[in-house]
Symmetry: D2
């Protein structure tokens, strides 16, 4: 892997909000870069796919695709393959987000294709059961996100701590080389701190950042909380 991520990590999924499209994608990525530099915390940004290249050109933090298809180069109109996102400068991709779920066979194929071209995988799963399956597939990172909490502002780290700890334990048992994040409802520094206390190595969030009145302030608060919680864990 060409990029070495430090942990804890904060992964920002921009989705496709009006606040995160086009020039806004670059704006939000620049803020993330500033906070990353100021706090020394790894921050990943995943802009909309047509904005990948523009974001890569403007920031030097890791840029991920939000999704990538399992195909090899060829006649796949409208699909986006690993060669596409690599050419655009992405260093990894989210895989199987609950808003873009994949067939099990395609998850296997996408992870293999990402490895093949040296890109980092961040696999999303929805339950402790599918986290076990996901761990067995050996992604670089895995984010457990109960879909019913996504976008609610109710943080998984507080509402379903047993899902997070269950995922952490499943990973340890099945494939300890996988780095574990959690997501869904993460909205404050406190939510991030709690996530790390539960044994994760970071968080995945979207609307709380994209739609924040002051995204820089929020992200700084999260970066600070992540570092402190990480240190306490030792």
């Amino acid at each position: 892997m060409s990029v070495e991520l430090k942990y804890p990590v904060i992964a920002l999924n921009f989705k496709v909000y009006l606040e995160s499209i086009g020039e806004n994608a670059v704006r939000l990525a620049r803020i993330a870069e500033e906070v990353s530099r100021e706090y020394g915390v790894s921050i990943i940004v995943a802009p909309p796919l047509p904005d990948l290249r523009a974001v890569v050109e403007h920031v030097s933090i890791p840029v991920f695709a939000q999704h990538v298809d399992p195909y090899r180069p060829g006649g796949h109109t409208g699909s986006i393959i690993v060669e596409n996102i690599k050419a655009a400068g992405a260093v990894g991709s989210i895989v199987n987000h609950s808003e873009k779920r994949l067939l099990l066979a395609d998850i296997g194929a996408v992870l293999e294709r990402l490895r093949e071209v040296g890109l980092i995988s961040l696999l999303c799963t929805d339950t402790v059961e599918t986290t076990k399956a996901g761990a067995a597939l050996g992604p670089n990172m895995l984010a457990i996100e109960p879909p019913e909490l996504i976008g609610t502002g109710i943080p998984v780290s507080k509402a379903k701590p047993e899902v997070v700890t269950g995922a952490v334990e499943a990973i340890k048992r099945i494939n300890p080389s996988v780095r574990i994040l959690c997501g869904a409802g993460i909205s404050t520094g406190d939510d991030v701190a709690k996530a790390i206390e539960l044994g994760t190595e970071g968080v995945l969030l979207a609307s709380a950042y994209v739609k924040a009145k002051d995204p820089k302030k929020l992200l700084a608060e999260m970066a600070d909380a992540a570092l402190r919680s990480w240190e306490r864990r030792g």
Copy 2:
């Protein structure tokens, strides 16, 4: 689980061939029942979904659905849920066949729903990697079937023995309670014997049986080979 399967097992997927629809489904199931009784080998039949109930009424061997959806009872026009197949008398279901692939999240949900109503799961996977994931999900049985060999008459047990043994080892390591079958291209008694030699506990086949000139003769040969190979393994 209400049904105790003995191993080795031969699972017959009828798919939706003209030779396996309607009355032919009952005919093919009856032949399977005769062979099962004569040889004392467990034979599962999976007829087309609209023929489930008729087959259940005519034979006393285990009848599986070819597919079942992850939903709870409700407004799901055109879907088939575990309560449907249970009411029709099925004792289990194939899950994620390569001709009916499922989202990872839905596989998790289907396996849970089958457990909930006491039905047996036979999960299909396509590679050693997805077999690891499948094993972690804890189905009752798992059949590894490289899709490129399905329907070819080239048996996985001979053409890709390393895939079969890789799957057997993955299961042992991740979830030894899962019973492992293999499929794709299984066409003769010899293919079945070889599959069991490689460490599996049975086979999953379709067109070779459905389209056989003499299905009874073929199945008898397979049952005999399965038993002998099983005994040799000790």
Copy 3:
């Protein structure tokens, strides 16, 4: 077509409720048959797919599948093809219900396959625009159902009369041989009468019938209202 439907028609989609599965499918179909005979109104029933054959064996009103796949006989594990539902005794199928939406190309293929084996098509669409497209495809019947009203008890015929009349006009202009129904929220005899006043030739409903305290009374009321409204239209 082997079955001649008289209009107006009441089509009952059983979906997969606990109240409509297995023996309940036969019970609900028998009630529909009684009402159809007493009032002389065409009533179609669409039971869960594994219950198709049992329902056909118990009633003599038209039985439809809730869904059918576009494939020809072959290796399509878990799919249900026109030969399957015909062998089970169905005389037609719902196509593209909003809970089982199809690709445009597959709708074309399914309608062709149904025609090929002499089965009746009841195509569902969601807007006036897709109704135009649906009319151009030439199904036997078309039901417009705004998905946001399905299961709400708010009848399309009252809440969105302009959608119903828009669909009626689109059909007349593009393909007047298509018979037009409407659905979504149809819950009373009055809703049925209003639907026919708006120019439709019947209704498609589900939960209001399946979950009715007294399904016979409700259906009788609907049959009576349908007839009276039909006569008034002349």
Copy 4:
């Protein structure tokens, strides 16, 4: 519509070949621009989605997306919406290519969304039947492409002229404001001339251009043939 297309038009779908990704997308688009200028023929290019913006920045011919999703801005990780492609500078999108088929309901929604933001739609269909449906939906352009000929080098305009003329007639009858193209197997100037003779207003092609030894020579030949055939038609 902000862009006025002149007819005949040659639409180039770059798909996701190694020869059409990243810098190659810009290279192929520049060649198309040169030929367009030299011959005065409208040429549309549809590069891979992550290369949209870079292509827009380098050429002044119309740039289309290969696909766009039906959603409004919001939580749709990994999807690409009309606001995304408009922000990147695209003036239109291919819809429902046979390698990225859509649900009928989603085609309706995508066409509406494209209209809403002032982008041009190029809808693909596979048969005369689905062309009728497509025409009824009112896209700006429609390309009929029998999928079995795509990528074969066997031109639809010669192998299946009756499909092309059937589509032309269907459009005239159902919605004459839709501009009709054809595609699949178009590989030479002669194929283009024949397509226009059959009544189309242009062609859609992919691999023949993307993988041509001398793409400029091929495209110039096609542009010339298109113009001559168009003039002959008068």
